[in-house]
Symmetry: C2
Subunit: 329 residues, 2 copies
């Protein structure tokens, strides 16, 4: 029986942060490409439209030490996190009937909903296989990761059940995006810190920072969805509203204008109606109010940052926060 290093990453081999980013990309492509014939077409399609691997970078950034060195186990963890995220996107697109994802046809539109169900499941288990390799080294933390994954699924489910729900409260909505978006950011930073060998206390602080980042990220996204539609000259419409997804700007509008409720709960809004509601939400200042929420999370992240020790790391995290604010990640 081999002796295992239980929950202690500090003794591990380290590589440079920038090198680790490249390794993560390779690890993801390798993992997807090694798939057998049954899923190869789907996996090829997915690697051709890869994302920016931002969640992976969050994990690596939290795992890097004062010399910008990352423990090697962080590469697999970061790859697992991205593949897990990919699994949720493939299933999300089924729920939302989304035709496109990352500018390419979504798996469900290209290969059908049934293949999309199974491909998502397959990606899910690929992620877990990668994570399991790390579980051998970090047995105690592993159940926490699994619980977070269950939480993510639950977040998706609540959001789906609140689509077209004009009575959703601001509080419920914040809880939903916490469980859907922010939890993955939080998990990334917490896991990174644990891999770096940080104390539980410090890792939780980084996880909290990730939560604030994620909340800001999602709320800013919600605002952009309404703003983008009015900024362009073409009379564009809120994509979220068109898909029946009720987000914060609309929730704030509904609170002030209850007559809007019966319209929003309908499933057959015309393009004309969507455009009208979109411009009302913007013009009545609800996007501005929603932005104030986003800013509050940004401030919380900034405050927390000052409590994180290690100048290089603090600067690195500060850079990530700035990148999220300016959308330049």
């Amino acid at each position: 029986m081999t002796n295992h290093n239980t929950d202690n990453g500090s003794a591990q081999t380290r590589i440079a942060l920038e090198q680790a980013r490249l390794f993560v990309r390779n690890r993801i492509e390798q993992t997807l490409n090694r798939s057998t014939a049954a899923v190869r077409d789907v996996m090829d399609h997915l690697t051709q439209s890869s994302g920016k691997y931002f969640r992976a970078y969050l994990l690596l950034a939290a795992a890097a030490d004062e010399n910008d060195q990352v423990p090697v186990a962080a590469v697999d963890a970061a790859a697992a996190l991205e593949i897990l995220h990919l699994a949720t996107l493939v299933h999300d697109d089924i729920i939302d009937d989304a035709p496109l994802r990352r500018g390419q046809p979504s798996v469900q539109s290209r290969f059908g909903k049934k293949t999309a169900v199974l491909s998502g499941d397959y990606l899910f288990s690929l992620a877990l296989t990668l994570l399991a390799g790390i579980a051998e080294q970090y047995p105690v933390k592993y159940s926490e990761f699994s619980r977070a994954i269950a939480q993510i699924c639950l977040g998706e489910l609540s959001q789906h059940q609140h689509n077209h729900d004009p009575n959703i409260t601001v509080f419920s909505y914040l809880r939903i995006i916490a469980g859907k978006t922010a939890i993955l950011f939080s998990l990334a930073m917490y896991a990174g810190a644990i891999l770096n060998g940080d104390t539980e206390d410090k890792a939780r602080r980084l996880g909290r920072f990730g939560h604030y980042l994620g909340m800001h990220f999602q709320l800013a996204d919600d605002c952009l969805d309404y703003e983008a539609s009015t900024e362009t000259m073409k009379k564009q419409t809120s994509k979220d509203l068109a898909e029946g997804v009720v987000t914060l700007p609309l929730i704030l509008a509904l609170a002030q204008n209850p007559t809007l409720r019966s319209i929003v709960s309908r499933l057959d809004l015309s393009t004309q109606e969507i455009a009208q509601i979109t411009s009302d939400v913007v013009n009545q200042g609800h996007v501005r109010s929603a932005r104030a929420f986003a800013t509050r999370y940004q401030q919380r992240a900034e405050n927390l940052l000052s409590q994180i020790s290690g100048a290089t790391r603090r600067q690195r995290l500060s850079g990530i926060l700035a990148a999220i604010i300016t959308r330049s990640y």
Copy 2:
């Protein structure tokens, strides 16, 4: 930092096998019922139509020692296995458009395909959360379990891609059911043995026994699907064929009768045609030939049984094999 018992179950507290069976049922219901509002209706629905928890029993039977005592960790492992199985059923029913499951409306027909996608994901992660608790004690084995789970998803995917495929070979078909059904039986017995504290060698032998059980179980099921339809006086039809699932009796018929291929590959078979093909497959002796395959796996299981040490355990496993043969589990 707590000290962890790495991959050694022999030191654990044990409870009686029959008590463990009750505990598994409670653990599953508890786990599903603890779910938050978003999924509560689906989980209620699933607990009302619970299965026989046969896979859980396989695990417990493999984990029990010569005094019919089971290590407590086996309860969570068995519950996790059943919840994992439930997750695959919920997603399977989406793929097959199945209206019923265990005599009740399937999740997809009762709550819609979208809720079924997410509920399956949620069940999947509940299973993993349960398993993760065990991973803390068995870090090294855990990645093997995860790989098996990935294998199960892949098995489902291959089967889905071979639906309506009249050119599928016997070999491909056996590989598909190995990865879809037999792997879960094999995993149950392997994991049980590991939890019991057996050597890797002995655990693999039990896993192999589970594989043969699973192959027999599935092939006998395939045969029953054709036989049941002709035994009753009502002109019933093969349910598999009606759903476009090509199984061994039909594969053997197709090999002898290539003209049948163009008919089977159609998606719009009439009830009349399905009934005709069903009775042809039976009358031309292809179910009998398929039964010979099932018997071969039964014999392999019997042969392996003689190599398994421990009289009580051997008798217990022999009882399970008999229950599968007589369908009285």
